[in-house]
C-alpha cells in the first residue's frame, strides 16, 4: 500500500449524487486522504476557498451551474489540480473542461482503481511542480530540457525543432491530459489550432524515435478524441 506523504493531503469532492460521493470519499479516506464534500458549485467554491484543498474532484453535471465556468473562475486564483467526472457521451464537455484548466478527466462509470491512479498522478505533479527538474527520465530515454537534448539508451536522438517543441510541450505537464488545441497552440501557434493532422504526423515521428513499439506507446499516450498525455512511468 502506498502511504500518502505527510502532512495530511486534503481532497475536495464536488458531486451531487450522494452514493457516488460516499464511495469516492470512502476510497480516498481508505488511502489516507482527508476528504471534504460539497453538493453543488456554490458550496464547492466556499469549501475550496476556505479549506485550501490539495486536489479537487469535480462532477461536470451539477444542477446549480456550469462546471466549466467554475474551473475558469478557480483558475483565476488557484492552481490546485482538478479531476473532472463526466457522465455525458460527447467529448465536448471534457475538452472544454480541460481547455478551461482541468488536469484530468474520468468518464462515468469509472472504477475506484482508475480514480485512485489519477488522484495519485495529479498529486505527484503538484509536489513535483515546485522544484523544476531539468532532466526527465522515461523508459530508456532521458530528456534534458536545459540542454534541449534527448538521449535514448545513452545515444543522442536527433529531433527536428517541431518535434522537440511538441515533446517539450508534453513533458512540461507529465501525466496531464493536453487537448489537441492546447498542443497545437503551444507548438504551431494560434493559426494552426484546427490542423489536427500536424499533430498526428509529428506524434507518429516522435513515437518512432522514442517508443520501443510505436503502435503500443508507453509514454506518449493517446486520449482518443481529446488529446495526448505524456507519462514517465508506464502504468500497470
Amino acid at each position: 500500500m502506498n502511504l500518502p506523504p505527510q502532512p495530511v493531503t486534503r481532497v475536495l469532492v464536488v458531486e451531487d449524487d450522494a452514493a457516488i460521493r460516499r464511495f469516492v470519499r470512502q476510497a480516498l479516506e481508505d488511502a489516507g486522504y482527508q476528504v471534504s464534500e460539497a453538493e453543488g458549485l456554490r458550496r464547492g467554491l466556499i469549501e475550496a476557498a476556505s479549506r485550501k484543498p490539495d486536489l479537487l474532484v469535480l462532477d461536470l453535471g451539477l444542477p446549480d451551474g456550469d462546471g466549466i465556468d467554475f474551473i475558469r473562475d478557480l483558475r483565476g486564483w488557484s492552481a490546485l489540480p482538478v479531476i473532472v467526472l463526466s457522465a455525458r457521451v460527447g467529448d465536448d464537455d471534457k475538452i472544454a473542461a480541460l481547455d478551461a484548466g482541468a488536469d484530468d478527466y474520468l468518464v462515468k462509470p469509472f472504477s475506484v482503481g482508475e480514480l485512485m491512479a489519477r488522484v495519485r498522478a495529479a498529486l505527484r505533479r503538484r509536489t513535483a511542480g515546485g522544484n523544476s527538474v531539468s532532466v526527465l527520465e522515461f523508459g530508456a530515454c532521458s530528456l534534458d530540457l536545459a540542454a534541449r537534448r534527448l538521449l535514448r539508451a545513452g545515444e543522442p536522438v536527433h529531433l527536428t525543432p517541431v518535434e522537440y517543441r511538441l515533446l517539450a510541450a508534453l513533458a512540461a505537464h507529465p501525466g496531464q491530459v493536453l487537448t489537441q488545441r492546447q498542443l497545437l497552440l503551444a507548438v504551431w501557434g494560434p493559426n494552426s489550432v484546427e490542423h489536427a493532422h500536424y499533430l498526428r504526423i509529428y506524434m507518429g515521428h516522435l513515437r518512432r524515435k522514442l517508443e520501443s513499439d510505436p503502435a503500443r506507446p508507453q509514454h506518449l499516450l493517446t486520449e482518443t478524441g481529446i488529446g495526448y498525455r505524456f507519462v514517465t512511468v508506464a502504468e500497470s
Binding site: D17, A19, I20, R22, F23, V24, Q26, A27, D30, G61, A87, R88, V89, D91, K108, P109, F110, S111, V112, G113, L115, R148, H158, L159, T160, P161, V162, E163, Y164, H195, A196, H197, Y198, R200, I201, Y202, M203, G204, P214, A215, R216, P217, L221, T222, E223, T224, G225
Partner: protein, 916 residues
C-alpha cells in the same frame, strides 16, 4: 465585321452547347426531300431501311405511301409495319398513322412517310409533323419524306410558279431542325418519262396530273427550288459546324442579323407579308415578331376581318414569330415603340398599290404614309415594303362564329341611328316653344348638344347621323322659310356648314375618347383582376386554397368555366374539386399537357378541336398541375393578348402552389429538427440517469470488495462479482445508447484527421486485460495515409471487432489488424485464426441483437457489429464479414473508408522542419 480574330460570343457557345444537349436526348429526324411527287423519296427511304435491316437495327415502318407503285411496295417486304388506326370520316373509314402504338412500340427508328400529311379530324394533332415532333421528343429517330411545295415559307413561291397552292404545309423550323436532309433528285426529263410510263400515278390520274402540275417548266422550277433549299441547309450545316468545331481563335464573331418586325394590317395581303417576313427571318437566322396595331379606325372593322387578322397572327406564330396586338391611336407610334422595346432593326410592312384617285387625294391632304411616319420617327429602323397582290390569296381560313358577332354589331349600330333620329326629334320638339325667347344661334347650340350626347352613347356613326339629321331638322323647322329645306338668307348656309363640321368633329373626338376610356377601363380591369388574384394567393395557405382562388379568378377574368388539377408526387393529376358540376375535364388530354409542359386542347396544336383548353401550371422548379379552361367563345383563345394573360394567370397560380409547397416542406423540416432535438435531449438524460447509479454501484461494490478482502472475508468474491456485473451492465447501456443514437441518424461525426496506428494502439490499450490471452499483431504500412473521421467512433469499431475476435476465438489465437490503401479507399481488416464465422449468411451478424451462436454463454448482446456497421456507413464506408477459405481458418472483418487527400498545407514530413 472585323478581320481580327475576336473572342466568341459566350451566348452563342452556350446556345450551341444547349442545342447539343437537346440533340442528344431527342430522336434524330432525317428528311428525304424532293422537288415533286414521283422523284422516288419513299423508294429511297425504304431502300435505305432495307439496308439498315441487314444491320439489325430496331426499325419499324409507321406509314409508307406506296401509291400503288409495285417497285416501292416490294421494298416493304421483310420490314415490320405498324398496323394503321382506322378513322371513320363522313361514313368512310380512313387508315391513319397510329401515334400511340408507335410510342408504345418505341423502335429505335420509325419510318413515317409524308411529313406534310394532315391528320383526320379527331386525331391528337392536326398535322403529321406534330406527331413526328412528339416521336422525336420521346427519343425515337424518325425518317420521313416531304416535297418542296409543302415547306411553309416556299408555299407562296410554289403557288406563284405553278398556280396550284397546297394547304398541307410544314413549318420551316421542322425542316430546319432535321438532323439530316437527303435530297432525292431526278432530272426533269426522267421524271416525265416515269410519269408517262405510269410509274407515278395510276394511269387515268396521270394525264390530268400532267396537264395541271407536271408541266416541264413547273418541274424545272420546283427542282431548282428544292436544290436551292438543300444548298441553304448545307450552308447552315457548315456554319453550325464552324460554330461547333472551328478553333476558337480563328473564328470571327457571328453578327446577329437584324430581327424583323412584321406589321400585320387589315388588308388581305397580310398572309403573304407574314410568309415573306418568315422567309427573310429564316434566311438571316434572326428572331422575328408580328404585330397588329388596333387603332380606333380598325376597331370598327367587321368581325370577320378582325378574325382574319387574328388568324394571320396565328399563322405568324406557327412560322416562329412572337406575336402581339397593340392598342394605340397611331399605328406608326405603336410600331416604333414596339420595335425599339424589343430591339428589332427592320420593320416589314405590306403595300397595296392605291388607285390613281386615292393617291391624288392622299397627296392633296398631305397624308403621310405609314412608312414615312415610321421613317420620320425612327430613322435607325430599316423599312421593308412587300408589295401586295390584292386577291392573290384568300387569307387563312377564318373560324366560324364571326357572322353572329357581326349581326350583333349591326343591331347595335341600328340602335345608334334610332337614337340619333330620336334625339333630333326631341331637340326639335323642345326647341320649338323656345324659339320665341331665344335667338336662332342659341337653338343651334341645343342641336350640337344632342350630337355630343349621341356621340357619347352611340359612337361615331350615330354622331355622324345625328349631325346630318340635326342640320336638316334645324333647316326645316327653324330657318325661314320654315317647313321647307330652302333658305332665304344665304348666311345660314355658313351656319349649316359650321354646325355640320362642329358636329362631326365633336362626334369624332367624343367617340375616340370613349374608345380610349374603354381601353383604359379594360386594362384597369385586367390589372385589377391580376392584382386581386395575386393578393388572394398571397394569403392562401394550402394548395387547395390556391387552386380555388385561381379557378375563381380565371373564371371571372375570362368569363369561362375552369377546373384546376394538381399533380401528386408521382406526377398524376387529380381534380381539386372532383364534385365540380360545371364540366368534366378530359383527364387524358390534361395529363398530356402536364407531361409535355405544353398547352393542349382548344386553340393549340394538340387536339385543337377539343372544347377545353388545358394549360400547364409551370413553376420555376417543376410543373405543378393543369388548369382547364372552357371558354364561352372561341375568340378568347384567338387573341394573343388573351392567351398571354391566361398564361400569366397560370404562372401566378403555379408560383403560388410552389410557394405553398415549399412552406410545407420547410415546416416538415422544422418538425423533424424539433423531434431530433427532443430525441437527443432524451438520450442525453437517459444516459446521465443510467450512468450515475451504475457509477455508484461499481464504486461501492469495489470498495466493499476491497474492505472484505482486507478483513479476509470469503464474501469478497461476491462483491467483486457485483462490480463485474455492474460494469457489464454499463457496457450494455453504452451500446444501447450508442445504437439508438446511430440508428436515429442523429450522430454528428466529429471528423478530423486520424492515424490508424494511433487508433489501433489506443483500442488495444482500452481493451487491456481482455486481450491478454491473445496475440495481437498490427500490420500497418508506414506510408498509410491519415483517415478523415471521428476518432472515438472509429476506435469503437476497432474495439468492438477486437473484443469480438477475442471473445469467439480460443486462447492463444492470433488477432491481426492490417490496412492498405486501395485507390480511393482505405481497406482495414481485423482477422483471426480462430474457428471462423458460424455457418449461414454473414450479413445476419450485423443485424441488431444477433450473436454468432444463439445459445452461447459468451456474454454480450449482439450489438457490437451492428454498431460497427452503423459507424462505418456513417463514414461513407462499408463493412463485411467472411471466413478465410480452407485450408486456412478464421474470420475476417473487412471494412473500407473513403480516402481523402490531406489539406494542401500538410507538413509533408520534414520538409518544413529543418534540423536544429
Amino acid at each position: 465585321m472585323s478581320e481580327e480574330p475576336l473572342r466568341p460570343d459566350p451566348d452563342a457557345l452556350l446556345a450551341a452547347a444547349r442545342a447539343a444537349d437537346a440533340r442528344a436526348e431527342r430522336g434524330r429526324l432525317k428528311i428525304y426531300f424532293g422537288a415533286s411527287a414521283g422523284v422516288g423519296k419513299t423508294w429511297a427511304m425504304l431502300d435505305d431501311a432495307q439496308r439498315l435491316r441487314a444491320g439489325n437495327v430496331d426499325l419499324v415502318v409507321g406509314v409508307a405511301e406506296t401509291h400503288g407503285r409495285s417497285e416501292t411496295a416490294a421494298l416493304l417486304q421483310g420490314l415490320e409495319c405498324l398496323p394503321p388506326r382506322t378513322v371513320t370520316l363522313h361514313g368512310r373509314s380512313l387508315p391513319e398513322f397510329d401515334l400511340d402504338a408507335a410510342l408504345a412500340r418505341r423502335p429505335a427508328l420509325l419510318l413515317v412517310d409524308e411529313l406534310a400529311h394532315s391528320n383526320a379530324p379527331g386525331s391528337r394533332h392536326p398535322k403529321r409533323w406534330q406527331d413526328i415532333e412528339e416521336l422525336l421528343d420521346a427519343g425515337i429517330d424518325v425518317w420521313t419524306t416531304v416535297n418542296v411545295q409543302h415547306i411553309e415559307s416556299l408555299n407562296d413561291v410554289v403557288g406563284g410558279i405553278t398556280g396550284i397552292r397546297v394547304r398541307e404545309t410544314v413549318p420551316d423550323h421542322v425542316f430546319d431542325a432535321a438532323s439530316e436532309v437527303e435530297l432525292v433528285d431526278l432530272p426533269t426529263d426522267d421524271l416525265l418519262r416515269r410519269l408517262s410510263e405510269g410509274k407515278i400515278y395510276l394511269p387515268e390520274q396521270a394525264e390530268r396530273a400532267v396537264r395541271h402540275f407536271f408541266r416541264k417548266g413547273n418541274l424545272m422550277a420546283l427542282r431548282e427550288l428544292a436544290l436551292r433549299r438543300t444548298a441553304e441547309r448545307v450552308e447552315d450545316d457548315v456554319r453550325s459546324y464552324r460554330l461547333e468545331h472551328v478553333a476558337q481563335d480563328r473564328r470571327a464573331v457571328w453578327q446577329v442579323s437584324d430581327a424583323l418586325l412584321a406589321c400585320v394590317g387589315p388588308d388581305s395581303g397580310a398572309e403573304r407579308l407574314v410568309r415573306a417576313a418568315a422567309r427573310r427571318a429564316a434566311q438571316g437566322g434572326a428572331p422575328w415578331h408580328a404585330v397588329y396595331v388596333e387603332t380606333p379606325a380598325l376597331q370598327r372593322l367587321p368581325e370577320a376581318r378582325r378574325r382574319a387578322i387574328l388568324a394571320t397572327l396565328r399563322l405568324a406564330e406557327s412560322l416562329g414569330a412572337v406575336t402581339a396586338t397593340l392598342t394605340a391611336e397611331d399605328a406608326a407610334d405603336a410600331v416604333v415603340a414596339y420595335a425599339r422595346e424589343h430591339n428589332l432593326g427592320t420593320v416589314v410592312t405590306g403595300y397595296a398599290l392605291p388607285g390613281a384617285a386615292t393617291a391624288l387625294w392622299r397627296r392633296l391632304r398631305g397624308h403621310r404614309s405609314f412608312g414615312e411616319r415610321v421613317a420620320v420617327q425612327a430613322p435607325e429602323i430599316e423599312f421593308m415594303v412587300i408589295a401586295r397582290q390584292p386577291g392573290a390569296d384568300t387569307g387563312p381560313p377564318v373560324p366560324d362564329g364571326a357572322a353572329a358577332e357581326d349581326a350583333d354589331r349591326l343591331a347595335r349600330r341600328a340602335r345608334g341611328y334610332v337614337w340619333a333620329l330620336a334625339s333630333s326629334a326631341a331637340v326639335t320638339v323642345v326647341a320649338t316653344p323656345l324659339l320665341r325667347y331665344f335667338d336662332l344661334a342659341n337653338i343651334v347650340m341645343l342641336f350640337l348638344l344632342a350630337v355630343v350626347a349621341v356621340a357619347v352613347r352611340h359612337g361615331r356613326r350615330a354622331a355622324l347621323a345625328a349631325a346630318v339629321l340635326n342640320v336638316l331638322a334645324f333647316d326645316f323647322f327653324f330657318v325661314s322659310p320654315r317647313f321647307t329645306f330652302s333658305v332665304s338668307d344665304a348666311q345660314y348656309l355658313l351656319t349649316f356648314a359650321v354646325m355640320m363640321a362642329v358636329g362631326l368633329v365633336i362626334g369624332q373626338l367624343t367617340a375616340s375618347l370613349r374608345y380610349q376610356a374603354r381601353v383604359a377601363g379594360y386594362r384597369e380591369q385586367r390589372a385589377r383582376g391580376l392584382f386581386e388574384m395575386a393578393r388572394d394567393l398571397g394569403r392562401a395557405l394550402t394548395q387547395e386554397q390556391v387552386a380555388e382562388i385561381g379557378e375563381r379568378a380565371v373564371a371571372r377574368a375570362f368569363r369561362c368555366q375552369t377546373a384546376m388539377m394538381l399533380a401528386d408526387s408521382d406526377g398524376r393529376l387529380a381534380a381539386v374539386s372532383p364534385d365540380n358540376d360545371r364540366f368534366v375535364p378530359d383527364a387524358g388530354l390534361a395529363q398530356w399537357a402536364f407531361d409535355h409542359a405544353e398547352a393542349a386542347g382548344a386553340g393549340t396544336g394538340t387536339l385543337p378541336g377539343a372544347p377545353v383548353l388545358y394549360l400547364p401550371l409551370q413553376a420555376p422548379m417543376r410543373t405543378r398541375g393543369v388548369i382547364a379552361v372552357k371558354p364561352s367563345g372561341p375568340r378568347l383563345l384567338m387573341i394573343p393578348e388573351q392567351r398571354q394573360l391566361l398564361d400569366t394567370y397560370a404562372a401566378l397560380v403555379a408560383i403560388a402552389i410552389e410557394r405553398v409547397h415549399f412552406v410545407a416542406v420547410a415546416q416538415d423540416t422544422l418538425l423533424s429538427i424539433e423531434s431530433e432535438r427532443l430525441r437527443n435531449s432524451l438520450l442525453a438524460a437517459l444516459s446521465h440517469d443510467l450512468r450515475t447509479p451504475l457509477t455508484a454501484l461499481i464504486g461501492l461494490s469495489e470498495n466493499l470488495s476491497a474492505a472484505l478482502a482486507r478483513d479476509g472475508s470469503p464474501r469478497g468474491a461476491d462483491a467483486t462479482a457485483i462490480a463485474d456485473q455492474a460494469r457489464r451492465t454499463a457496457q450494455l447501456v453504452n451500446n444501447l445508447l450508442d445504437m439508438a443514437r446511430l440508428q436515429a441518424g442523429s450522430v454528428a461525426l466529429r471528423r478530423d484527421w486520424q492515424s490508424l496506428e494511433e487508433l489501433a494502439g489506443s483500442a488495444i490499450r482500452s481493451l487491456g486485460p481482455a486481450l491478454d490471452r491473445h496475440v495481437v499483431e498490427l500490420r500497418l504500412p508506414p506510408d498509410l495515409p491519415l483517415i478523415h473521421g471521428d476518432a472515438v467512433l472509429l476506435e469503437r469499431v476497432l474495439v468492438n471487432l477486437l473484443e469480438n475476435a477475442a471473445k469467439y476465438t480460443p486462447e492463444g489465437s492470433h488477432l491481426r489488424v492490417s490496412a492498405e490503401r486501395e485507390g480511393e479507399r482505405i481497406a482495414i481488416e481485423v482477422s483471426d485464426d480462430g474457428p471462423g464465422l458460424p455457418p449461414g449468411d454473414p450479413e445476419r451478424l450485423f443485424r441488431t441483437f444477433t450473436r454468432g451462436d444463439a445459445e452461447s454463454s459468451t456474454p454480450g448482446v449482439g450489438l457490437g457489429l451492428a454498431i460497427c456497421r452503423a459507424i462505418v456507413r456513417a463514414h461513407g464506408g462499408e463493412i463485411e464479414a467472411s471466413s478465410r477459405p480452407a485450408p486456412a481458418h478464421g474470420a475476417v472483418f473487412r471494412w473500407t473508408l473513403p480516402h481523402l487527400d490531406l489539406p494542401a498545407d500538410a507538413p509533408a514530413s520534414h520538409a518544413a522542419d529543418c534540423a536544429p
